[in-house]
């Protein structure tokens, strides 16, 4: 019912259809016999003639052996297809992308050093392998169209691979419960054809896109990376302090010492949030963005924050 965007997905669909056929057959068989017996042997009167059948050994053996065989067939077919779904092809080159899942946003790190948030950009027709790790709780990286899913665990790297056949855009879901905005931890996979990919790798822009101004880029990052989820721009108190009139504001840390908000305080809090917690706000709620945001991106965010004023 949903499109399959990799050849392995097509083979997984074949397994699913095979099992669905098995399920439909046995479901109809069992319940047809059940309904037939219910109608055929309805009680007519109190002294119906009833067969004193207690069991039938050959029948028992038959309906033990047949399910065993069918079940082993399903198992074997499933494992054969799963082998290709799970282990990337050995001989072909594999393009590795680092994925970090954190509370309610994904971030991707490419071999050429570029990082994107919630948007996985991959070339068409290449074997992509995602090396995934979480920086707080367990998440799960799921792309329905590719039929791939793997948990993202803080204590070890996990991986999954796919080879998208043609260009397109697909959803990324988080399928392991991870807290408040588990249902908003969505992302997009954008599969680019060859030349678009070429351009993107060099300039980080799609064909025909021109570079965003630092302010626009900062605003886009502020939304993409989930900052908006905990830091409001309209003054409302969320999990973290509001960004309204934040720049130049002076307040006290939980440790009691006063501070005024300036460039390197914001930069430091983005990279190591738990160093200086503002009084009255919960500790270790904000994940560290160290390594997921390049310094230029952080400076764009700072320029954006400077513009949030309530004049």
């Amino acid at each position: 019912m949903i499109s399959d965007a990799t050849e392995v997905a097509a083979r997984v669909d074949m397994v699913q259809i095979f099992i669905f056929g098995m399920m439909a057959f046995w479901f109809i068989a069992c319940n047809a016999v059940l309904v037939y017996f219910m109608l055929r042997y309805r009680r007519k009167g109190p002294d119906d003639k009833v067969a004193n059948i207690k069991g039938n050994h050959t029948l028992e053996i038959v309906w033990t052996v047949i399910p065993c065989i069918l079940v082993l067939i399903i198992f074997y077919y499933g494992v054969v297809v799963w082998k290709d779904l799970r282990v990337p092809p050995k001989d072909e080159p594999v393009y590795e992308i680092g994925v970090t899942g954190q509370k309610w946003s994904w971030s991707f790190k490419y071999p050429n050093g570029a990082t994107t948030g919630n948007e996985l950009i991959v070339p068409q027709g290449t074997n992509i392998k995602l090396n995934m790790i979480s920086s707080d709780v367990i998440h799960s990286f799921f792309i329905p169209e590719f039929r791939v899913k793997e948990d993202v665990i803080p204590s070890m790297y996990t991986y999954l691979w796919f080879n998208a056949k043609h260009a397109g855009e697909y959803n990324i879901f988080c399928t392991e419960y991870c807290g408040k905005d588990h249902s908003h931890m969505l992302g997009k996979v954008r599969v680019l054809d060859a030349d678009n990919w070429e351009n993107w790798e060099k300039t980080g822009l799609m064909l025909g896109e021109e570079r965003l101004t630092p302010l626009e880029n900062g605003e886009k990052l502020f939304a993409d990376r989930g900052c908006k989820g905990c830091h409001s721009v309209d003054g409302a108190k969320l999990v973290g302090p509001t960004m309204l009139d934040a720049f130049g504001r002076s307040a006290t840390f939980a440790s009691g010492e006063a501070y005024t908000v300036d460039d390197n305080y914001i930069a430091n809090s983005i990279k190591y949030p738990n160093n200086q917690i503002v009084a009255g706000y919960p500790a270790n709620q904000m994940p560290s963005f160290d390594g997921q945001l390049s310094d230029s991106e952080i400076s764009d965010i700072i320029t954006y924050i400077k513009t949030i004023k309530s004049e």
Partner: protein, 208 residues
């Protein structure tokens, strides 16, 4: 009237064993304790075999206690069912966990996160180890620069700076995939290179 039981009538309550049986068991147990301490001094090959030896001696002691002290010998079959059941289930749990964890190491590409990636307060013994003598290339785990240590908070900032600087150039030919050939020293597994540690300068990957 107490209705008689369908299975055999338990004569008098419990089987009486002579005193020397108890004494013999006790002495055997003490001797085995000494043996197990002695056995732990000798290195039987690798860590796994040392565990196996310790477990075998402990199992012998346990069977002695069950059969003789707890009168296991005179128990019916169903009671022995309830003795074997937990042992089998525990063995299943441990075997499954072992197959899982051992299997992960040599699965293509799966390997444990470097200590530097574990962000929260670090036990001193890990950090002491990572600080002190970052030795050899066993596991590659302990060879990392330590992550934000429990002690200093402030130290974090500059420490990362150091690894970042060192990150670019000295990144060896480690192939994170197979998890065996980490080069141990220094910042082979810096904090932020989760994904591309494997193929950073591996020319041929990707056709772009």
């Amino acid at each position: 009237m107490a209705h008689d039981h369908h299975d055999d009538h338990a004569g008098e309550m419990g089987h009486i064993q002579p005193f020397k049986v108890y004494l013999g068991t006790f002495l055997a147990l003490v001797v085995l304790t000494v043996v197990t301490v002695a056995a732990s001094r000798i290195n039987w090959g690798n860590a796994f075999l040392n565990d196996v030896v310790a477990m075998v001696i402990a199992t012998i002691k346990a069977t002695l206690v069950i059969t003789l002290f707890m009168h296991g010998k005179h128990e019916k079959l169903e009671t022995w069912g309830f003795i074997w059941a937990p042992i089998i289930l525990l063995a299943t749990l441990l075997a499954a966990l072992f197959v899982d964890y051992a299997g992960r190491q040599n699965d293509l590409y799966i390997e444990p996160a470097p200590i530097s990636k574990l962000y929260v307060h670090q036990p001193e013994s890990i950090t002491k180890k990572a600080h002190g003598e970052g030795h050899g290339d066993d596991h590659g785990k302990s060879g990392d620069t330590h992550a934000p240590a429990t002690d200093g908070h402030g130290a974090e900032g500059d420490d990362h700076g150091a690894t970042d600087a060192g990150h670019g150039d000295s990144h060896g030919e480690t192939d994170a995939g197979h998890g065996d050939s980490h080069d141990a020293e220094g910042d082979a597994k810096a904090t932020d290179d989760q994904g591309d540690a494997a193929k950073k300068d591996d020319g041929d990957h990707g056709d772009h």
